[in-house]
């Protein structure tokens, strides 16, 4: 059976609980659900921010996320995956990204969710611009995110 997967890019916010419920409804083979929600914080480097604006590469973003969801399904015995990534202007406290993974056991659900988040941070074509005191600046990529993504390379499925 193919693993049910949902990948959506959208301006609107999302309902994490409803998305998790869609993956578990009517099934009794799922023993573990991991939900990761990324939220727009109200400050960056100690300074308050007004908003984030996320630009993305339409088409490529969907394809890149799809490739990584397929890789997660191949590496771990997950029973369902949902990834939703917002673009456009996002205010502090609003959700940015959602990853939900389900599995019979917790290890696979945790690993797949972390893997997907690490890759979304470094490989999915999204760029964050931060508005602070009237000025807009592009957020620089973090080396720690590259290191987090690199730890999955060449690592056998657990």
């Amino acid at each position: 059976m193919t693993t049910p997967t949902t990948i959506r890019l959208q301006r609107e916010t999302f309902d994490a609980a409803a998305e998790a419920a869609k993956l578990t409804r009517g099934r009794t083979d799922i023993g573990a659900v991991v939900t990761f929600t990324g939220i727009c914080r109200g400050d960056e480097a100690g300074e308050p921010i007004a908003a984030l604006t996320l630009e993305h590469y339409p088409g490529m973003a969907e394809e890149e996320i799809t490739r990584h969801v397929e890789e997660a399904c191949a590496r771990w015995p997950v029973l369902g995956v949902t990834v939703i990534h917002r673009y456009g202007r996002i205010a502090p406290g609003e959700d940015i990204v959602l990853v939900v993974t389900t599995s019979s056991h917790r290890a696979a659900a945790f690993a797949a969710a972390e893997f997907l988040m690490d890759y979304l941070k470094t490989r999915a074509p999204f760029w964050k611009q931060v508005e602070k005191a009237g000025a807009k600046n592009w957020v620089a990529a973090k080396e720690s995110d590259d290191a987090a993504a690199d730890r999955w390379r060449g690592k056998a499925a657990e």
Binding site: H56, M60, T122, P125, V139, A140, A141
Partner: protein
């Protein structure tokens, strides 16, 4: 060939995309960046630090030595900051 720019590469070049006629002798992504950088001040600024610029051919990440002959769409952008 369609060239697309994102984030600050787009801002510096001053446009989100353009059609170019690829000159003879430009075989790789890296060579295309060199050629684009020579097209004017805004391009020179966008491509001044070529090491940090990432590229995709037909929506797939590629390295600077990737051949571009068969490409329909090539995109240039800074390191990604999604998630």
């Amino acid at each position: 060939m369609k060239i697309r720019y994102f984030a600050w590469v787009r801002e510096r070049v001053g446009k989100p995309e353009e059609e170019i006629e690829l000159p003879a002798g430009i075989a790789t992504v890296g060579e295309l960046m060199d050629w684009l950088a020579g097209r004017g001040e805004e391009y020179a600024y966008a491509f001044e630090n070529r090491k940090v610029i990432r590229a995709a051919i037909d929506r797939t990440h590629v390295r600077p030595d990737a051949p571009i002959r068969a490409a329909r769409e090539i995109a240039f952008f800074p390191p990604m900051t999604g998630g």
